[in-house]
Structures are given as structure tokens and as C-alpha cells.
Amino acid sequence: MSDNLANEPARVAAMYRTMLVIRAFEEAAGENFFAGNVRGSVHQYIGEEGIAVGICENLRDDDYLTSNHRGHGHSIAKGAHPRAMMLELFGKAGGTSNGKGGSMHIADFSVGMLGANGVIADGCTISVGAAQALRLRGKDSIVVNFIGDGGINRGPFMEALNWAKIYNLPVLFVCENNQIAASTTTRLVTAGEGIAARALSFDVPAVTIDGNDLFEVDRTAARVVSEIRNGSGPQLIQAMTYRLRGHFAHDKAGYRDPAEVDEALKHEPMGRVEAWLRDNGMSDADISQLQSEVKAEIDSYVEDAMNAPWPDASLAFTDVQDVGAPQAGEAVQ
């Protein structure tokens, strides 16, 4: 991906487009969950698009990314193809994992996306090890790990902070602080000032930014990523944001005040980028053109996913292991 130049309109428009793709993908995922086409847990990234896009804009394909349960936006921003992802959500052949993983296990190793994860904070320990591998292999790539503000209270994350620092590893921890974990207000279960203070206690530089401001995320990522690539050791970015939807598609989020959501909508990231584009020569026509273009693109992926074949049942028995692999079919006798 491009270096972080000035915010020339073309570059911002490209980021905006990726944000639109994520938003449209998540809307479609939700709709198809309710339509019964997508099973399981669908954790939407709606309202947080600016973070993944602003961070990944500053990464290379050979940088690694590890994600969590809310990984669709991270995956798209890192370059995973939304078509293959949609097929995966539908459990169809041709999905990123051929239907074996589903929403919580999206991965695209070809662009360094090492996987979403169903276990909170496990991506953190995987990240520090991936960084050690990069060093052994003599690469100047870095590893970015996305973790939520609820996830920071799991021990493995704190172990990983310590680990990344003592070995001076090229790891960027991005804490997406949407102030909630499922139905729990994280402030109530998080002692002290929070993640930035904790990171600093490990001597891991930490900065808190407005995650809903694409430009601030982009600027901060540009600086931090290059510092890490140049040997600064691990750093942490706390990106403040807001989860505009429920924890997952089927969560009505009745535990929060609708007024809070209305207020948050005023600060959501898309509109702010849109305004900037308008001020910088993009017409309303261009913008709605782009929006409908993206909408059409995602609709076509849904269409493809609907029509795609199911994976053959025998695929259930492959990709397990080389030594002592199951005899496929044995079960489906």
C-alpha cells in the first residue's frame, strides 16, 4: 500500500472507499444473518471502520495482522477479498477457509492476515511469536494486533506486552476502545486509567487517539509503524471509538441508552471523511456514485455467495494434520 503522503484527495477517497466496503459488507452480513443465510455469531465493525483502514493503509502486504472476534473490518482493510469473505460467512466453497472457519476465523495469509480469533486475547501472544519469527527470518516486517478494551483484562495480553518489550519486538498493539465488552461497560471492570497507563508501566509507548477520525488514525499509524519498523520496539495505540450496533447481529443492546447511540452517530467516522472529501473537490454526485458502486459490489458478492456451491462433505476431513490424519468418509459411511 502507498506511503503516508499528504492527504491528497485520491488517497483519502481510496481509504473512504475501503471504509464503505467494510460498512456495506457488515450491513450485508447482518441482513443475511437475519435472513438465515449466515449462521453463528456475526460481530459487526460498524462505526469503527476508520481504525482498521487508517492503520492498514500504513502497512505492507508482508506485514502481519492478527485479529479478534470482530475481524471483518480488519481483514478487508488488510486486503482480504470481501467476496471470499462473504462466501466464508455463508459457509460456501471458495470462502477464505472453504467454509471451515466462518465469521470468527477469517484469514488471508496471502496478504499477511493471520486470522480472526474466537478466543479473546490469543491474538496477542500469537503476534509476539510471529514477530520473533520475522526477526529470525531477517525480515523488516512488523506485526499488528487488534484487541478490544474488554480483552485487555486477560492475562495473556499483559504477558504479551511484557514479552514484546523485553525482546524489543516489532509489534503494534491497537486497542479498539469502544467502551464496551458484550453487555459490560468496560470502565466498571477495568482498574486504573486503562490500557495506555498499563502499557506505559511496561515501558511500551502508548498514545490515545480519536479512532473515529480517519486522519488522526492515519497520521498516528504512519509515525508509529515507521518507528516500529525502524526498531523502536513495541508500541500501543488506543483508538477511542463506539460500537454502533449490538455486540453481534442478534444483540439488541437494550443495556444502553438510545440517546448514547444517537450522540455517537454524530461522531461516527464515515461522515467526517465524506465532509473532508466534499471540501476537497469531490461532488455529492461523485460520493453517492461511489456509495452505490460499493453497494452494488457487495450485493454481487452476496449474490455469488447465495449461488455458490456448498463445500463437499469430504472437505470436513482435510487440512487437519499430515501425521495421523482422519480417514475421510469413515464418518460419512
Binding site: R39, M104, V320, A331
Partner: protein
């Protein structure tokens, strides 16, 4: 008698035990507002307060470790892990502490806690949310392992587990939360730990199962009845201790044993039962369990993992052939 779901029956049992004993309490993520994944804690925080239904941070090791400490210190905690998959983040606290404290300290302390960790396939939640590791915990001295199969026994077994002075690994099945059944609210008795239940009598073979797989096994027994084969079906309900006498008596009578479980066959608890019966009775035995693969996400793949009634029936026929 009133009809309620498996989840409602669990909630009833917990509520009754919390009313009976002020030292019973529960800790876990999102128990208050959410009321647990399936509403099995619904309303209990309002009723008993947030220091008896405790909403915790995402800290599985500490949820389990704190329960051990709270049990050693004279209370009866229920550590809610949400998924047996996440409980793997707290295996050390369960196996090295809860299971061993009483023994290592020469009987000075007891660990009356319930480690509650739902198992099984619910449909489309894949490899990290669908496991059935019950066999592991039967292998750990000090632990009791319980796998309820109906609303009625989920109530009775949970009551017994809360009252038990040993650490109990309590494994509800996620696929059963919505299962409806009759529960006698007036009856405050426990379903005794370690007692199996003969849910269908028969003379041609004995089929042992538990948890959600029991229902499928009963379906299979119906299919077999169609061919004039009468299968006796036993719901083990508790895996440790398992009802050896009931199983041996039945198997000795029918002369054939089939064990069926949703968990992976290799290293599953079916091996223990089949081996014990083969050792003691020397009769033909067979096992059905999942193939040794992670649980896949996509429908046809997930279906390929499951042990359906027709497969159980055909295995039974082979055994009788």
C-alpha cells in the same frame, strides 16, 4: 408439574439454591444484564445483588482461580465459563488447584465449587466454540463430571452439584438450552450424582449415551424398534462417577454394548466404558463418536461430523449381526 426449557430449569435450580444457602454465588462474564448466554441467570442479579451474581472482567484464569479461593474460604461459588472452549483458559486453576487442594493439604480444605462450562455443537459456531472435552475431566482425580440431558435433570443435577462438597465440572449442552420438558417445581430433591437413568428398556442391546447425543440415540432406538430390535438406552447423566452397576447389569442382560457420544471418538469417554465392559463381561462392544477433526463451520461439514440416528442404528445392527 410445569413445562420449562433446559435453561429455565437451570435458572430455577440456581435460584432455589441461592435462596436456600446465602453462601451460594456465581461469577462470570455478562451474567447480570444478559442473564447468561441462554438466560440461565436471568433476573438473579436483581434478586440477589451484584456480589452474589458477579459480573467479571474477561479473565478466565481468575474466574476459576477465584472460585477455588472462595470455596476454600467457605463459600459455594459457581464459576461460569460460558463455553467449555474458554474454560481451556483456566485448566490449570481447575486441574492443578480445584481438583488437588483437598488432597495436597491432607484433607484440611474442601473445594465445593461448580465449574460450569457448556459443551457441544450449537450450529455454526465452529472449532473454538463447539468442543465436548468431558473425557478430559473424568481423567482428573478430585473432579466430578456432570452432563445433564433434559430440563428435569438439569435442575436436579445442578442442585446436587451446588450442594456437593467436591469440585464439579458441570457441562450443559448448548444445543439443549431451548429443549422443553416437564419439571416438578414442588420437588426440591436432587438428581443423585453418579446415577444413570434407563430411558428406554430393551433386551437386544444396551446403548449408553449422554447430553444432547442421548436424544439422537433414542431416535435410533425407535428406528431399531421398527426392525424388531429392542435397544435399552441408558442416559449416564454423570460421567464421573458413572453408574457402572446400571451399565454392567444391563449389558450383562442384553449381551451387547454400544456407546455413543458427540465428542471425538479417539480418547473419548466411550473408550472407558467400552473397555470396562469388555474387561468385565467379555461381550461385544462398539463405540460411536466424532471423527478426529475440529468442528467445522459450514452446514454440510458440520453435519458430516454429527452422529445421526441412522448411523447409530446401523452400527447397532452390525453389532447384532
Amino acid at each position: 408439574m410445569s413445562e420449562m426449557t433446559y435453561a429455565e430449569a437451570a435458572r430455577l435450580a440456581l435460584r432455589e439454591e441461592m435462596q436456600r444457602d446465602p453462601l451460594v454465588w456465581a461469577l462470570g462474564e455478562d451474567l447480570g444484564y444478559e442473564g447468561g448466554m441462554a438466560g440461565q441467570y436471568r433476573g438473579l442479579q436483581e434478586e440477589f445483588g451484584d456480589d452474589r451474581i458477579v459480573d467479571t472482567p474477561i479473565s478466565e484464569s481468575t474466574i476459576m482461580g477465584a472460585a477455588v479461593g472462595a470455596a476454600l474460604a467457605g463459600t459455594r461459588p459457581i464459576a461460569e465459563m460460558r463455553f467449555s472452549d474458554f474454560a481451556m483458559c483456566a485448566v490449570d486453576e481447575l486441574v492443578n488447584q480445584a481438583a488437588k487442594a483437598r488432597y495436597m493439604f491432607g484433607g484440611q480444605g474442601r473445594v465445593p465449587m461448580v465449574a460450569r462450562m457448556p459443551i457441544g455443537i450449537r450450529g455454526g459456531i465452529a472449532a473454538q466454540h463447539s468442543q465436548s472435552p468431558e473425557a478430559w475431566y473424568t481423567h482428573v482425580p478430585g473432579l466430578v463430571v456432570v452432563t445433564p440431558s433434559t430440563p428435569a435433570n438439569n435442575r436436579g443435577l445442578l442442585k446436587a452439584s451446588i450442594r456437593c462438597d467436591d469440585p464439579v465440572v458441570y457441562m450443559e449442552h448448548k444445543g439443549l438450552w431451548g429443549m422443553k420438558g416437564e419439571v416438578d417445581e414442588a420437588d426440591q430433591s436432587e438428581t443423585p450424582l453418579g446415577e444413570g437413568d434407563t430411558v428406554r428398556s430393551g433386551g437386544d442391546l444396551t446403548i449408553v449415551s449422554w447430553s444432547a447425543q442421548l436424544g439422537v440415540t433414542v431416535e435410533a432406538a425407535e428406528l431399531l424398534a421398527g426392525d424388531g430390535i429392542s435397544a435399552e438406552v441408558i442416559d449416564l447423566r454423570t460421567l464421573w462417577p458413572w453408574d457402572r452397576d446400571l451399565v454392567m447389569a444391563s449389558a450383562a442382560r442384553t449381551g451387547k454394548l454400544l456407546v455413543v457420544h458427540e465428542a471425538v471418538r479417539v480418547g473419548g469417554f466411550g473408550g472407558e466404558i467400552a473397555a470396562e465392559v469388555a474387561e468385565e463381561l467379555g461381550i461385544p462392544v462398539a463405540r460411536l463418536g466424532g471423527e478426529r477433526i475440529p468442528i467445522p463451520f459450514s452446514i454440510p461439514l458440520e453435519e458430516a461430523y454429527k452422529i445421526k440416528a441412522d448411523r447409530i442404528a446401523s452400527r447397532a445392527r452390525d453389532l447384532l449381526a
